[in-house]
């Protein structure tokens, strides 16, 4: 069994938009056979939570130089480009 990958989902307040994104990623990755541990935080909290994280997905800009892959996307809110972003997330988690 591969280690469960950790995805840190960030938005402005960690209450609204990141909840939508976290749910969507969890469901879609489960369908693709990838177990993920999803954590939510505010964008400003990302640097302090980054250590054991495999991928950051944010709806809003996060601080630079995180040394981990970051995908900034509104696709889970707007629907625009969702399939492409899911492929990118899958590739990052399988990589």
């Amino acid at each position: 069994m591969p280690r469960t990958k950790v995805v840190l989902v960030a938005c402005g307040t960690a209450v609204a938009t990141s909840t939508v994104v976290a749910n969507a990623i969890e469901e879609e990755m489960r369908e693709r056979g990838i177990a993920v541990d999803i954590r939510q935080c505010k964008a400003t909290e990302v640097p302090g939570l980054i250590d054991d994280v495999d991928l950051v997905v944010s709806t809003t800009p996060v601080p630079p130089d995180l040394d981990k892959p970051v995908i900034t996307t509104l696709a889970f809110l707007t629907g625009i480009g969702k399939a492409e972003v899911l492929d990118k997330i899958e590739a990052a988690l399988r990589g």
């Binding site: 402005g12 307040t13 960690a14 209450v15 609204a16 938009t17 909840t19 939508v20 749910n23 969507a24 939510q40 964008a43 709806t59 809003t60 800009p61 900034t72 996307t73 509104l74 889970f76 809110l77 707007t78 629907g79 625009i80």
Partner: protein
């Protein structure tokens, strides 16, 4: 169906054809309605404005009607609620993924949330609504709260 949105959206928190000149006008209006209904604390409006200034909530949809979903931290909320405004003319909101980019917004859905796990259905419905083809245009064209609820119930 958007049952959870309808349940959280009081008719008094629906403002149609609003004449606004800035996103502050719209936020003040909707936050005022929620405060008058006892759904948010007096601190809510200022907190939403502050958040909007640093981390804006405009969502570019690639069409004529963009949407914004202003909100803030749970401590300013008394009872989870929504407020909705359609604008006579679009006003600028910063784009969520690029705060330096301003987008014209015609429909504003203000979210007052106090518990993300309890309100996940509502959040999911808001995302579905935004993604449903034609839904925002139908909201923008509504002339009465009943028409808004009809779009939400479609």
């Amino acid at each position: 169906m958007h049952d959870s949105i309808s349940r959280h959206l009081d008719p008094e928190a629906i403002c149609l054809g609003v004449e606004a000149t800035s996103n502050r006008d719209v936020i003040d209006l909707l936050a005022g309605r929620l405060a008058a209904l006892g759904r948010v604390r007096p601190s809510f409006a200022g907190a939403v404005l502050a958040r909007e200034a640093s981390m804006p909530t405009g969502l570019p949809l690639g069409g004529a009607v963009n949407v914004a979903v202003p909100h803030t931290d749970p401590e300013h909320v008394v009872k989870p609620s929504l407020a909705l405004a359609t604008l006579a003319r679009p006003v600028g909101f910063g784009s969520m993924d690029d705060p330096d980019e301003e987008i014209p917004v015609g429909v504003v859905m203000m979210l007052a949330l106090d518990n993300k796990d309890a309100q996940i259905d509502m959040l999911r419905e808001v995302a579905e609504l935004i993604q449903r083809p034609g839904a925002l245009a139908a909201l923008a064209a509504a002339t009465s709260p009943d028409e808004i609820y009809a779009v939400l119930g479609a």
